[in-house]
């Protein structure tokens, strides 16, 4: 896993002690630096750490998170988020829904994790179950959540499509978050 502090990359990219991820130009500069790091790394999972970042606007969320997710999808790689504040979630939700993308995220100051973006509430519940009670196949998720089998299957497929859970022999493992 490659862990990237967005605060640090931001300050390197703009050569100033800014703590706000705002403007498309800034987002493109930050993404450029991240892509340079990832180009040299043998990685499967990239964790983008929002700790220390204050404001996040839509343009930056789009340039950094959405575009890295779109690039990761073409190479079957995974991007996850950590240290996200509740008030940053809105911007992330907005741009990810716009692109029909979703990402797993953990939140600042809590152990909570969730899926942000274009996904069903069933997929979110299934993700919570995988995290709380361990990897499972559709039958086990159906039993845990008292769902019909097809509903559990659809929710897990949704998570798999977004690379938020990975299936091994029919058993889905959630991505590991910090």
């Amino acid at each position: 896993m490659v862990q990237i502090s967005l605060r640090r990359v931001l300050q390197e990219a703009v050569a100033a002690p800014y703590r706000h991820l705002v403007t498309r130009a800034t987002g493109a500069a930050v993404r450029g630096r991240i892509e340079a790091v990832l180009a040299d790394a043998d990685w499967t999972i990239t964790l983008l750490d929002f700790s220390g970042v204050d404001c996040l606007d839509l343009s930056c969320a789009d340039e950094i998170v959405a575009k890295l997710l779109l690039a990761a999808a073409t190479r079957d790689r995974v991007v996850i988020l950590a240290g996200v504040r509740e008030d940053q979630r809105d911007a992330l939700e907005h741009v990810l829904v716009h692109h029909r993308l979703a990402v797993a995220a953990s939140f600042a100051g809590t152990d909570a994790a969730d899926v942000i973006g274009w996904t069903s509430s069933d997929a979110r519940e299934a993700f919570a179950s995988l995290r709380a009670d361990g990897p499972a196949d559709a039958a086990r998720i159906a039993a845990r959540l008292d769902w019909p089998h097809e509903r559990a299957e659809a929710a897990l497929e949704d998570l798999g499509r977004h690379r938020i859970a990975r299936a091994t022999g029919g058993v889905f493992h959630p991505v590991t978050l910090l």
Partner: protein, 298 residues
Amino acid sequence: MTRVVEVPAHFDDKSFDQFAGWFGAWPPEERVLVDARGCQWASPYGLVGLLTAGQALAEAGKERPLLTVPAADDVRRYWARTGFFIHAAELFELHGKIPRAATGPSDVLLDVTPIRASGDIHDIVGKIQEGAARILTGELGIEAKATMGFAMALSEACQNIVEHAGTSGWVAVQAYTFRRRLGRRVVVIAVSDGGVGFRRSLESTQAKRFGDRWGDATALEAALIQNVSRFRDPGRGQGLAGIKRYLSRWQGKISIRSGTARLAIVPPWDEDVPLVDHLPFFPGAQVQVVIPAQHAES
């Protein structure tokens, strides 16, 4: 010959059309005298619009316009407090007594500030955070976590200048009581530039789609209602959509004037007309965002 442009006594987004009308065909042939002596009150929209006029005349290669400052002491002091005169002195030949800018607490959340590049927006967002939190949660009854949404809306509104205007512009943010229309405290963001405007910005990608209907009004409709951008990048066009989404939660209002049209998303508390066309021409784009208190003042 001099063309006299009167600043309305109550200078805001509504009376701005009257102000724009005094310029006649743009750019005016004659030297312009902007007469603000009779002005009794100006909103942030009025102030940034006034600077835009000065800037647009300079960029059109016209002689430096004259500006006679408001006769009323308190109006002059307020204009000074917003930092207006510092910038106006670079664009206008000022006539009248200019007071020294007062310091200390006020309802001015962000002085009149130039937007030239992306770095200016970082500075603006940094400056506004503390004051915005105090006003939004303390006075407007908006939950604390919405402060970042406000900064996001401000950032996206300012970015329209950097990304689309082709020139620099101005922003100002202020809290005041909207007595005439609402009877509540509001926070107002005003952003203005004298650049290419929405019609020219979108023309190459959108004009064909609208055919004979293409103009300032349809360009505003494409941008504000349909979230269309001139860029082909599918991630573009989210800025105004994000502002609308934020405002819909807090019954806010956005209005954009560009060229000869103005389009607004009108909340239930306002009686504004959503679309007005065939207005007097004014260069660039003028954006106003209004976020009202969630409860009436006691």
